[in-house]
């Protein structure tokens, strides 16, 4: 009893590429909004000297995490950054001095109980590194009176094509992952740990199984079918535990907390070193990239700097995606900075890698979109209801459950923009 998905050509041409350090860029632009939730207030002013790991933005809101400088250097200005959603946020521009001097006093956090653990995780600037960027301390800081959470699920499915950051994390930072598991078990009273990995990463499965035998034999590592969207939260929770996160519920309602494997590895590293989240591993790939690779990129580096490092030909670029090709967002300006949630940068040639695109024809009612929808929606019916602005049908048929995985648009032989229509329909229902 698994949620079925669909087969995607995974194109993981960087799975064997060991992570390399990006040469220090001359300038970084660090956005004050890096995660889901509230934007941070700027804590520095132009002219200030900042050091690696220094907090440069914070907020008193619970749904937010602080932002730290990823480089040492001089603040040259505070600018505005237009984000994908159409909103703007403040951005701290820093000219690097090349020394990468660490802030004094960076040391492993002192943790005694669940509360201090969550506080430390917040101070680390940690948010979900899988892409959605949900503040991790909010996930871990669930109300212990209300929820009986006994299971940690580590999402290492990495079902998007091209992306291999999580895969490399499992191979290169295995110890950190198990450190984090130990800490979460200890402080949050969690008993069961499941790690779900898609079968297309057999080496990662082996390494993780070997380490589980060494450190903690209660950690269950499950090889999942290589089917998209295996890594969607509701899907992986169901496929690993059989628990159904119902409409309107959060994972804690069914007793689980879900963390991405890279988030987990970061927490482990932070507990050991005290170094906040200032850089991340990401995959640079796509058919316009000459040297596809995994790089460790300081947060705030321009997308351009990363692309040129990976031998991307500027003349060939037609489209650049931040994230995976199924759920990532297109970039409109290559000078925008990499943020904490960026799991990959994919540069595609114009028209390349996107066969049959944009020639939309009539729906032939083939039912493919209905068969692939992981949450059991009927995208073709929803599309027609949206075109008629039929709010009643849209809400009755639960368009709000759509997580925009894009499977329906992917399989549609008429190349209709079904997933896009679902998002517009959700927005329409919100304006009621």
């Amino acid at each position: 009893m698994n949620i079925k998905g669909m087969f995607l050509d995974h194109k993981k041409n960087t799975a064997g590429a060991k992570t390399v350090e990006l040469p220090l860029p001359k300038q970084v632009r660090i956005a004050m909004q890096q995660c889901a939730g509230a934007a941070c207030d700027v804590l520095v002013k132009p002219g200030d000297q900042v050091l690696v790991g220094q907090k440069i933005g914070d907020s008193d809101k619970y749904m937010s995490v602080p932002v730290h400088s990823s480089v040492s250097g001089k603040v040259t200005g505070i600018s505005e950054l237009l984000q994908v959603g159409g909103r703007t946020c403040k951005c701290v521009d820093i000219e690097t001095d090349g020394t990468q001097t660490l802030l004094e006093g960076i040391k492993p956090p002192v943790i005694t109980d669940a509360e201090s653990f969550c506080r430390a995780v917040r101070e680390s600037g940690c948010c979900g590194l899988g892409g959605a960027g949900f503040p991790t301390h909010v996930k871990l800081g669930f109300d212990r009176e209300k929820y009986n959470v006994d299971t940690l699920i580590i999402n290492a499915a990495e079902c998007e094509p091209y992306l291999t950051g999580d895969h490399r994390t499992m191979l290169e930072d295995t110890d950190s992952i198990f450190d984090a598991i130990a800490a979460i078990k200890k402080y949050l009273g969690i008993k069961n740990v499941h790690i779900g990995i898609e079968k297309n990463k057999p080496d990662a499965i082996d390494v993780m199984r070997g380490n589980a035998a060494k450190y903690d034999s209660t950690v269950r590592i499950t090889a999942l079918e290589t089917k998209y969207p295996q890594g969607a939260e509701k899907v992986i929770v169901y496929n690993l535990t059989g628990k159904i996160i119902r409409e309107g519920q959060i994972p804690a309602d069914v007793g689980v907390v879900v963390l991405n494997v890279s988030t987990c590895a970061f927490i482990g590293k932070y507990l050991r070193t005290g170094m906040p989240l200032v850089s991340r591993r990401l995959t640079v790939s796509g058919d316009a990239v000459g040297n596809p690779c995994n790089v460790n990129v300081p947060v705030g580096t321009c997308f351009e700097d990363v692309l040129w490092y990976a031998d991307c030909d500027p003349e060939k670029i037609g489209k650049v995606i931040s994230g995976g090709p199924m759920m990532g967002t297109d970039l409109f300006d290559l000078q925008d900075p990499v943020c904490k949630t960026c799991s990959g940068i994919l540069a595609m040639r114009q028209g390349g890698d996107r066969p049959g695109e944009r020639v939309q024809t009539a729906c032939i009612r083939c039912g493919r979109c209905i068969r692939v929808c992981p949450v059991g929606l009927m995208p073709t019916v929803l599309e027609k209801a949206f075109d008629k602005k039929d709010r009643k049908t849209l809400s009755k048929m639960k368009v709000s459950l759509c997580m925009n995985c894009g499977s329906c648009s992917y399989v549609c032989p008429a190349k209709r923009d079904l997933a896009e229509k679902n998002q517009l329909a959700k927005a329409l229902l919100r304006t009621m």
Binding site: Q249, G318, K319, G376, M378, C412
Partner: protein, 313 residues
């Protein structure tokens, strides 16, 4: 550097397109076409060609007259023409075939809004129009060339059971419409469609299974009923038409069972010897209701209770 393309996700699309699906259907129909050429000679091929060409021309003319974009590229008109030809006796005058494709493409498909909007299978309506208009020509069967001793003109459904062996029926050595006679070729085409993921096997299996059970209960020879007439052509290629069959798998099963029951009722108890086209047409009409009844319940939602539904009103 050129401008960047910005579009909503997903940024990749599968290589399955409508025209590719239609091409697969035509490839699946090829074995049956080859067999009909072997059995009935060149006139079977010419009639098929006339139907395909005229369907294509009708579609293009409709596009021009209705000031719509050119939709002939999706190849659906060619498929309709081909399937309609398969439903005609090989000796049918060509101009009747052209009338058939007119009824199929212009009346049934384009006037209702083109591909995806028609409520009935165009080829079936085309066949029924010809059947009712030219009953004589539509029921005069030429005997297969390779079976010199085949007895006259009755289709196996009318002829007494036992006139043809199962093997003859399976291989196509009997009278009938040009594409429906060779069961082996049709089944091969059906398997191709399932393997290429063009169709799911629910409708053909439910349809054929129902006919088997119904015939057996009614005291007829079930295998004979399945192999003769247009049953396999209908079940594999016509009842599975995306546009006019239910979208969900459970709906497809209901649809197939309905087709099977209606086919048997018409064959056994009504005036027409063959009921496949009428059965599929009738089920086409109830397809929207089957779709309503078989809507999937989204993951993690509670079943809609009667009370709650009434309160909503």
């Amino acid at each position: 550097m050129k401008d960047l393309t910005v579009s909503p996700s997903p940024h990749i699309r599968s290589n399955v397109t409508t025209s590719r699906i239609m091409l697969h259907v035509m490839i699946a129909l090829l074995p049956a076409l080859v067999m009909s050429a072997v059995l009935f000679g060149a006139e079977a091929l010419i009639l098929t060609g006339v139907c395909m060409l005229s369907a294509f021309v009708w579609e293009r003319l409709c596009n021009i007259v209705m000031k719509r974009p050119n939709t002939t590229g999706d190849l659906s008109a060619l498929v309709t023409g081909m399937i309609l030809a398969f439903n005609l006796p090989p000796s049918l005058p060509y101009w009747m075939g052209i009338i058939g494709t007119f009824a199929a493409i212009v009346i049934t498909k384009q006037i209702f809004g083109g591909l995806g909007q028609n409520f009935a299978n165009p080829a079936i309506v085309g066949r029924i129009v010809l059947m009712l208009s030219f009953t004589g020509e539509m029921t005069s069967w030429s005997k297969p060339l390779v079976v010199p001793d085949a007895v006259t003109s009755a289709t196996p459904l009318v002829a007494s059971s036992g006139q043809y062996s199962y093997l003859d029926l399976f291989l196509g050595f009997h009278t009938g419409c040009l594409g429906e006679v060779c069961a082996a070729a049709l089944i091969a085409g059906g398997l191709y469609l399932v393997v290429m993921r063009v169709i799911v096997p629910h409708i053909p299996l439910a349809y054929v299974g129902t006919v088997f059970v119904f015939s057996w209960i009614a005291g007829r020879d079930p295998v004979y009923q399945i192999l003769s007439g247009g049953l396999l052509l209908g079940a594999i290629f016509m009842a599975t038409d995306y546009v006019t069959s239910p979208v969900s798998n459970s709906g497809k099963v209901i649809f197939g069972i309905g087709c099977g029951v209606l086919t048997c009722v018409i064959r056994f108890y009504a005036n027409y010897p063959e009921g496949v086209s009428f059965a599929i047409l009738l089920m086409n009409i109830v397809t929207p209701y089957i779709d309503l009844l078989t809507r999937r319940r989204p993951f993690g939602t509670a079943p809609v209770k009667k009370e709650a539904a009434e309160n909503e009103k």
